[in-house]
Symmetry: C3
């Protein structure tokens, strides 16, 4: 892969994506060929906020490759993360392990960690910013269940304004030709304009609708997500609207026979239980594809691993990022680095745009 670390899925090119997706497929079909693939290697999972599901997926991936796991999952009971800088923890743990998966509530934390790690770093979610292995999971699922990544009509349902996984998946599918999108949400929770810019730039067709019913009959894929109660303008509005975004057996009758339903899980009640037995529901299989995707990723990154510390870049600006959730706000020693683009600065940690 072109980078030692996996911080942002978009830093890989399409060939690298396809290599990972095909490796995941190969592992799924022949798991026993890989049970010792990472024998003697150690994965450290540094979870600065609990996320049992994601952590368990990474851990299982490494264990099924014959590797070992260390790490922590709870900053409250972990003395490693207390009163110690991210830099020191990452530097120490990278001396114990061969690869690190880090999850942290602050945007840009995985990038910050990559500066000080002797071993490859995987971003397992940095605040609301990026979560590349979820998107890789979604791509593997589509490849396995649809047999293709091009020329699909994809419905996206839920809170499209704030949904990180939705944005990331749209961006990814825009790199494959012929995909079009049906964006299903309340008017208040429409997709942000920067995503529309991307759709327009690649010439991908899309439309925005208010109800699942309008979309069901002509889509090939339905990506369901949750709309949180607090996103509605009022409780009454929530009660009136919520059913519109709940997928149930009734709405399934409108759909194509080869529709595939994805969901990043956990679900709350946006998909009713009786849909689970429908063969078009693949959200549980999706979690398994996530395991294979992570196996492919870990195996590949360990293969190319060269043990050396990259060294942090030097600061390129005196500006400080204005995003209050940026990792540079709490870890003061981090170099201030920005991408300049005419009259704005883009923070290289969290991608916040600052007007000069």
């Amino acid at each position: 892969m072109t980078s030692r670390h996996l911080l942002d899925l978009n830093s890989l090119n399409i060939d690298e994506w396809m290599m990972l997706i095909k490796t995941a497929d190969e592992i799924k079909n022949h798991p026993y060929r890989y049970i010792d693939a990472c024998h003697g290697k150690v994965l450290a999972t540094l979870f600065y906020e609990p996320s049992t599901r994601t952590q368990m997926s990474f851990q299982t991936a490494m264990l099924r490759l014959g590797g070992r796991i260390i790490g922590f999952d709870n900053p409250a009971t972990s003395s490693v993360s207390k009163g110690e800088s991210l830099k020191d923890t990452v530097r120490v743990v990278s001396g114990y392990s061969d690869i690190i998966a880090i999850r942290h509530p602050k945007a840009g934390s995985a990038k910050a960690a990559s500066f000080y790690s002797k071993v490859p770093v995987i971003n397992a979610g940095d605040g609301g910013h990026l979560h590349p292995t979820q998107t890789l999971t979604d791509l593997v699922t589509l490849y396995e269940e649809k047999g293709q990544l091009t020329d699909m009509r994809i419905g996206m349902c839920g809170d499209l304004m704030n949904g990180r996984t939705v944005h990331s998946l749209i961006k990814a599918l825009c790199r494959f030709k012929g995909n079009s999108f049906v964006l299903i949400s309340t008017p208040q929770l429409r997709i942000p304009s920067y995503i529309k810019d991307i759709l327009n730039a690649v010439g991908a067709k899309y439309c925005e609708v208010n109800t699942l019913e309008e979309a069901m009959s002509d889509i090939d894929v339905l990506y369901m997500t949750r709309i949180q109660r607090e996103r509605f303008s009022s409780d009454e509005e929530y009660e009136r609207q919520k059913g519109v975004y709940v997928l149930d057996k009734q709405k399934m009758k409108l759909a194509k026979s080869d529709l595939k339903i994805l969901h990043p899980l956990p679900r709350v009640d946006e998909i009713t239980i009786d849909v689970d037995d429908d063969p078009r529901a693949v959200y549980f299989e999706q979690t398994e594809y996530g395991m294979y995707a992570r196996m492919a990723l870990i195996m590949n990154m360990l293969d190319e691993n060269i043990h050396k510390v990259d060294g942090a870049p030097v600061s390129t600006h005196s500006e400080t990022c204005t995003n209050s959730n940026c990792i540079t706000q709490t870890e003061k020693y981090l170099p201030k680095i920005f991408k300049e683009s005419r009259d704005i600065l883009v923070c290289k940690y969290c991608e916040e745009r600052i007007l000069l």
Copy 2:
């Protein structure tokens, strides 16, 4: 084994019990033959309530077979178990693992889990309902320490009314011929009548006594358990009585030289420390037999594992179970299934009996 899952030890026949017991014996005698027996396999321990001792026993069992472990132990810090149905968690984790051990405070939870798991489920304790691997541990201990499971006189001491392990062990020993029982407790904490029905049905002799002294001289096995302070009618009564149910060096002088003392542990003060060095005390060995018992069980269940979801049965009744601790009270989607027996319904999850 006749079932894919181990929910209740009584669902196995005697031949299957003896096969497991003899496998445990074989592993104990030749542990190094088994260090790779489950190479490449993964056990998930889903502990919805903390029970470090039981979880550690399961984990060690799997690790000593060369397998790997994932799971959680604390619902408070685990995002898997938060806001997600038992069904979804079990379905997802069964996609990661080859076998699941589940512990949950609600009766019938392991049975509920078995409906949705792709892999075999072991009941590691479901509320006060069943705990089959403890009983298997007790049988392995008796087989190892007494050389037999028949024709023994067994003392049972403590809170016989509420003690789940005691009830389960009596039921198990009633399936072997020639065993008789001395039931040692306060009058308030006598064995429940349904256990007496079982004893009478198989013609097993038993007597009820008030003190350890009365029982000590002619028993072959003494199974000690704790009487909790709150079980006594008053604090004065507790202070007056507690010594009667404490096993100490003095009382040991009354016992046969080949008596064996068992205890499910942890003990509080119902066995004094000076008894530990008596060769007749085998309660610490018992925890090791528990590890071998679980190794035998896991190995056997993995051998016969066919990867498929059973699919939940359909509801057989419109009734809802009346037991407030039944898993069907919190997981509303579960099918309502009952065994009918003349004018009563028996809940298939928790075995609560409901009069029609």
Copy 3:
């Protein structure tokens, strides 16, 4: 090694130290020769107080030897350690494992554990008393980074009165010839007199100074530790003095080119971040040497392991230790054992000296 357990580094002789140090060096140079060295073995880490860093170092060490790990890290959520004596927990867990690393807030707890364990016990820190693997780590670091353990001038900076690691390292280095010491602290935080007695007994030269600057130019090794704010006589005193004990780039200019800086970590602000990139800073490497030191130790102890319980010694006195942090204060069943030395008794658990 002369003892089955590692409770106190001083119970080993110099030859045993050198054997461990050289084994650590060998593992560091050829880690892949050792990835299956402890295949089939289990390490239990019993951490009665959280110490993620130390626990992770032990766990990684065992995993990198191909062994497996069990244990607990948080007494609050662990039912093993709740309401159960140290004796019972250790006895049970030693039936599951091949070696135990124990950390406990009470002095003498590891010694107490060793009485009841069937397998070797490593002291991973018992209150403020002993922490032998930290000292072993420091020795391995000096051996690797200086190429020698003799004839060095060693600066020790920080809270020398209360610093356990400092005392322990001085004692260790006094067993090698030609070492001298520069003791850098405030007058209130000078080294205790019993350490001066040891220095004098072996004829090791030492001087006491008030500032890092006075020491920097002629030392070969600088061992940095933290001075906690609460150790100063007042907040004003702290603010006035703290910079004196902070190592920064400026002070580094005074030092020899082959100085090596150690720190047991975690650091707070006693070493500034800009020192990290100085090649003389080896405190991150030190944590890796700690992993190799623990690998050498575990491998060696497992080799010589004879499975038997030692049996606790009988009490030698009717006295009770007067140290309120001694393990005998909470675990009442422990035999009262003392070393007699003229008119004082020395507690064999915590080394408290009691005047008769």
